[in-house]
């Protein structure tokens, strides 16, 4: 990209000899509610532009907002899952600024009285646990979407004008802000990534959002600063936006550490600013310098009454929390007898839930793991999709393993049955039937194939009779070929031995 000048960077390992990184993360999560935060407009992703708006979310005069109960409860549940204190008194506030995607001239947010404060999230990197303190979790509303017209497609630079779609304006948005995380050293980039990964899993487990970074329902601002080692003061931080994948979270911290070290090494000062991450180059570039917080002229939202969750309400929500990801991982590791490394493989492959469901559908943990980490991982990789997006359900995988276990098919036929399932031909048992994949018993057809193989290779038969037993393999191969792999190799070998000896 033209605005990304190549900047001086310090080697990553070199950065750590002189500086200690401090990171902080602000994560925005679009809640998966049916309706918007303060009005009844639907929240369907990808709807036709401006078909999900009304006087409230367009900020038309005289309209009045009413808070969405489900959004408030989701926010409290997220706070509880992060070990936060839930405020007994909490208010919305107006954050005033002008931007075309903010129809009201302010964003309804929370300021000094957020719903949840003082929590934490423990994340693991390379067997080491890092505690990320949570400063606050608050509830606000999303903005509309700008489409820049003219100039390079979709870019603001050189654009003639912009077009705004307000479907997203007013969708409930939860902001989760960490306290600064120091002491992670070389692991800082990975800790940042592990934090967002774990947060995403928690919110997914709560069912509060679909947390899809590529669709923007989870967005991350990554703060990075460097302090000289041994210094008591933290350095000036930058805030990197446009970080749209877990991998980018890690890369953006890494890049900022290397860039800021070069600035400091040269005797310069890091500018406090917003920076934009570029996926293609893995670099960041300077954005506008941020308006001072006081310039937002926050004040309590007069059109919404305070939230005052009582103990009973909070307890009810706490009691309804699902098993959280960390506890679930520990439980499954124990139940399936996995090593820490095996567990990590499953988690990193995104297969934990799939294996769990496959086991629940009757497969053994070993079979379920073998299929999801082996054949299915290969298919997903070939197709360039996530495991979960393959057109096969855990129940179907369990059925495949059952068919193999009962001897109806072998592994090779099972892979063909999987082809059928992925092609939408139905459940494995139906595919096996329709495609005629079942292992051949000692049928007339198989006897004929065995006898034909013997008759067709008198030299091999001689060798076997002469004591070269391993030559029998060639005959087994010939039979498997004529039967298109549908015979059971052990059966074929036994039948051949009976006839050759």
């Amino acid at each position: 990209m033209s605005e990304t000048r190549s900047e001086t960077l310090v080697e990553f390992d070199d950065v750590l000899t002189r500086y200690e990184p401090v990171i902080g993360l602000e994560t925005h999560v679009e809640l998966g509610t049916e309706s918007k935060m303060f009005c009844g407009c639907a929240t369907t992703f990808g709807a036709e532009p401006n078909t999900q708006t009304c006087p409230v979310c367009l900020g038309l005069p005289g309209s009045l907002p009413v808070a969405n109960a489900a959004a408030v409860e989701s926010t409290i549940r997220i706070g509880l899952a992060l070990g936060c204190r839930i405020a007994s008194w909490s208010r919305f506030a107006r954050k005033n600024y002008f931007y075309p995607d903010i129809p009201k001239g302010f964003q309804t947010s929370q300021y000094d009285e957020p719903l949840c404060t003082a929590g934490h999230l423990d994340v693991e990197v390379d067997g080491e646990t890092y505690r990320v303190e949570i400063e606050r979790v608050h509830l606000e509303e999303d903005t509309g979407k700008n489409l820049h017209v003219g100039g390079a497609t979709g870019r603001i630079h050189g654009a003639d004008h912009s077009l705004v779609d307000f479907n997203r304006a007013g969708i409930p948005l939860v902001e989760i802000v960490t306290r600064p995380v120091a002491g992670a050293g070389a692991k800082a980039p990975e800790v940042a990534r592990a934090y967002v990964t774990e947060l995403r899993e928690i919110i997914q487990a709560l069912g509060a959002s679909d947390v899809r970074m590529e669709q923007g329902s989870l967005r991350c601002d990554v703060n990075t600063s460097l302090a000289p080692i041994g210094s008591l003061e933290w350095g000036t931080r930058t805030e990197t936006k446009n970080v749209n994948s877990l991998r980018s979270v890690e890369r953006s911290v890494r890049y900022e550490m290397r860039r800021q070290a070069a600035v400091l090494d040269a005797g310069g000062r890091v500018v406090q600013e917003t920076r934009h991450f570029h996926e293609d180059t893995g670099s960041t570039s300077s954005g506008r310098s941020k308006e001072e917080a006081t310039d937002y002229r926050y004040f309590p939202e007069p059109d919404l009454v305070p939230l005052a969750p009582d103990a009973e309400w909070i307890e009810k929500l706490a009691a309804g929390l699902p098993e959280l990801p960390a506890a679930r991982r520990r439980r499954l590791q124990e139940e399936w007898g996995l090593s820490a490394t095996e567990l990590t493989w499953l988690v990193n492959a995104g297969a934990l839930g799939l294996v769990e469901q496959t086991v629940a559908a009757g497969a053994t943990p070993a079979d379920a793991r073998k299929w999801w980490l082996g054949e299915l991982a290969r298919r997903a990789n070939d197709a360039g999709v996530e495991l979960a997006d393959l057109a096969v359900t855990p129940a179907q995988v369990a059925e495949l393993t059952a068919l193999v276990a009962e001897g109806t098919i072998n592994d090779k036929l099972a892979r063909q049955a999987l082809d059928g399932v992925l092609a939408g031909e139905g459940d494995p048992r139906a595919v096996v039937e329709a495609r005629g994949l079942a292992v051949m018993g000692e049928s007339d057809e198989l006897v004929a194939a065995v006898e034909a193989a013997i008759a067709g290779a008198p030299d091999v038969v001689e060798k076997v009779r002469g004591g070269k037993v391993q030559a029998l393999g060639a005959l087994v191969g010939a039979v498997m070929k004529t039967t298109r792999g549908q015979a059971d190799a052990a059966t074929v070998r036994r039948m051949l031995e009976e006839r050759v000896r």
């Binding site: 929240t43 532009p49 999900q52 808070a67 005033n96 954005g287 506008r288 969750p309």
Partner: protein
Amino acid sequence: MSTESTPDRGATPALGRQDIAHLARLARLAVTDEELDRFAGQLGAVLDAVAQVQRADAGDVAPTTHAVPLTNVLRPDVATPSLPRDVVLAGAPAAEDDRFRVPRILGEEE
């Protein structure tokens, strides 16, 4: 527009021309030099009037932001019909491709 400081201290709390210029910029209002002086005086008088409240002995009274003592007024999460798009866009100063058309946005990248 000059934003030089001409401290224009009336009674407490004082508002200078600079403060007015800053507020005008945040509110996207074009204000002339003469208006800076006039508004500083007028807004100063307003603040003076409001400041009288601080003379009341209200040490044990919590600040009020709502006139009615209500909390937890919530609506169930149910989608209701939105406005038809042609009605929505009829109120827009300009529209294009079913969207609100706005002037070029300067100085920031999304």
